[in-house]
């Protein structure tokens, strides 16, 4: 597979991923465009530059692991994994259809190359900690990355996990909050404000990095800082825009869980050239 640290190349892949996300969800007629688009650069930077993994050997014991805790954003995960060669790109448009490996939420029964089945929010950090602890026991260099929604951070289990990892110094875990400010019912600040978010993670013993989640060089630097941080898990607070890249979806709660119409698809793709 292609691996690159060139931000221009990573940006080009990101654009391609955005197009695929729009096409997949339009074809499926349901799904979650907003939170898929906000996480594009996070996943692209991880899969094409930062993570040590091998699509030809997906169960390589020392691989870095990735968990999409906010499983509803799976269109971007499927797109990225297909681009890496883990799964067929020509089937991406079967998303959410009966018999497709591209289930509405990540499901290892249908896609054994996934690290986790998700879709019920709040559980990914705990799962990541388990994988990271196993890596430590096995003296493996494997690191585990987990992407969370900001609304998802309202789940109590997130903070039980945060307390555990801080206390136990699980420094091979990186929790990435896709801080796009919107959840299902509206803006996170109106539903249940997470702020001061960085202070919360710090108080639980985490090393915190705040970064623009669409700025690829800044993300590369942040992941490098996370890798060189020992004795503390890292929380990367990625400031993102929900629906990023499609003007009429940007920062618009309506597109949390609504598929584009054919006309909207056309307008979206026209912006992603």
């Amino acid at each position: 597979m292609l691996k690159t640290s060139d931000p221009t190349e990573l940006a080009a892949i990101s654009k391609k991923m955005r197009r695929q996300v729009i096409e997949m969800i339009t074809e499926a007629k349901s799904g979650h465009p907003g939170g898929s688009l906000s996480a594009v650069e996070l996943l692209v930077t991880l899969y094409f530059d930062v993570m040590r993994h091998d699509p030809a050997n997906p169960k390589w014991k020392d691989r870095d692991r990735f968990i999409l805790s906010k499983g509803h954003a799976c269109p971007i995960l499927y797109s990225v994994m297909a681009e890496c060669g883990y799964c067929p790109a020509d089937q991406l448009n079967t998303l959410r259809k009966l018999g497709s490996i591209y289930q509405g939420h990540p499901d290892v029964r249908f896609m054994p190359v996934l690290e986790a089945s998700t879709g019920s929010l709040g559980q990914g950090v705990s799962l990541a900690i388990g994988m990271a602890l196993a890596a430590k026991l096995d003296k493996s260099p494997s690191r585990t990355y987990v992407v969370l929604g900001d609304g998802e951070l309202q789940e109590g289990q997130i903070w039980e996990a945060a307390m555990f990892a801080g206390f136990r110094k699980v420094d091979n875990v990186v929790a990435i909050a896709d801080n796009n400010g919107i959840q299902l019912d509206g803006f996170t600040k109106d539903i249940m404000d997470l702020e001061p978010l960085a202070d919360k993670w710090r108080a639980f013993g985490w090393h915190v990095i705040e970064v623009n989640g669409h700025d690829i060089p800044a993300l590369q630097k942040a992941f490098a800082e996370a890798s060189s941080t020992s004795g503390k898990p890292t929380a990367l607070i990625a400031h993102t825009v929900k629906g990023k890249g499609v003007s009429f979806m940007e920062n618009n709660p309506k597109y949390h869980g609504q598929a584009p119409t054919l006309d909207e698809e056309k307008r979206a793709l026209a912006e992603l050239v």
Binding site: A28, K29, S30, G31, G71, R96, K97, L98, G99, S100, Q103, G104, H105, D107, F110, S117, T118, G119, S120, L121, G122, G151, E152, Q154, E155, G156, Q183, L184, D185, I191, M192
Partner: protein
């Protein structure tokens, strides 16, 4: 006659929509009614209550366990809270809280799980609930309701509010066939015989009630007389109606959009074995989680259709015959 039309069931509202409507009506007549939701108010349909009574609506964010116990606290202090989320999250995440803060002290809390069963469709099994009836029935002292259409949902939500004690109400995502006329009366704990028959009794809850009615019609065309019972109250179960059906037809099929080995079927079987033995068959989800797909495709694939009820009825009838 309880059925609207004999050979054609008109599509009505989804039971979650009926719940949302009933909740607003309750809010207008009783200032003690309050509602809680966990970032799904547009899906559970509590959004109408939120708009009309913002001061009595508590948005809890994506934190179902916390919401369950807050609701119990509100109930302990004299309010009548309706807490809702997808059934999968409400019961699986809130179970321990419901057990300790609602069931133990038997507080007056009403818990509503929408998007139950596999008919939610494309979102897939993480959002589906095939074990909620089992979990809810495991909460000692809870009343468990599973209405089949919008008319029964509205009526039973109102009765749940009127009675004192913890209640779980199961609702679905998709529009479902209208079973009842607007003037139908319902009593919690009393099954409704929709079709009378003498050879076999089709017992069902939720979406499978309409499928069982269709099955009864198909059986009738083959000269088999099938009765249909709507079990809108899973707990307390209508012992009398079930014993009577077992005695009368000696062949029963129980159908539900739920794991077959932990839902309505096993509870009916318990009553049958305690009263009048009968040949029994079960239609439901068999030891699996479903998948993404269109609701209709999933109901077909997982065997939750009238044809499956018909086939089960014939198996039960064959055993009844062999045993007599």
């Amino acid at each position: 006659m309880a059925i609207n039309t004999k050979y054609e069931l008109k599509l009505g509202a989804a039971t979650r929509e009926a719940f949302g409507k009933a909740l607003v009506e309750l809010g207008r007549t009783n200032p003690n009614i309050v509602a809680l939701d966990a970032d799904l108010s547009k899906s559970t349909m509590t959004v109408g209550f939120q708009k009309e009574f913002p001061e009595r609506f508590f948005e809890c964010g994506i934190a179902e366990a916390n919401m369950a116990a807050i609701a119990a606290g509100l109930a302990s202090a004299g309010k009548i809270p309706f807490a809702s989320s997808f059934s999968a999250f409400m019961l699986n995440k809130g179970f321990e809280q419901l057990r300790v803060t609602a069931a133990f002290p038997r507080v007056n809390v009403k818990v509503v799980g929408t998007h139950s069963g596999i008919s939610i469709g494309e979102d897939g099994p993480s959002q589906m609930s095939v074990e909620d009836l089992s979990l809810a029935c495991s909460l000692a002292g809870f009343t468990v309701l599973s209405p089949a259409d919008e008319v029964s949902m509205v009526a039973l939500v109102k009765q749940a509010a009127a009675m004192f004690g913890p209640v779980f109400i199961r609702a679905g995502r998709i529009k479902c066939p209208l079973i009842y006329a607007a003037d139908q009366t319902f009593t919690i704990g009393k099954a409704i015989e929709l079709v009378s028959g003498t050879d076999v009794t089709l017992i069902a809850t939720g979406l499978l009630v309409a499928e069982s009615i269709k099955a009864a019609e198909a059986l009738e065309a083959e000269g088999i007389s099938a009765a249909v019972l709507d079990i809108h109250t899973i707990k307390p179960l209508d012992r009398e109606a079930i014993a009577k059906a077992a005695q009368k037809t000696r062949a029963l099929v129980v159908s539900e959009e739920h794991l077959v080995d932990s839902g309505l079927g096993v509870r009916v079987a318990q009553i049958v074995s305690e009263t009048t033995p009968a040949a029994m068959e079960f239609v439901g989800v068999v030891d699996t989680y479903a998948e993404s797909g269109a609701p209709d495709e999933l109901l077909d694939k997982y065997g939750l259709r009238a044809v499956n009820v018909v086939a089960a009825a014939k198996r039960a009838l064959a055993r009844k015959k062999a045993g007599s």
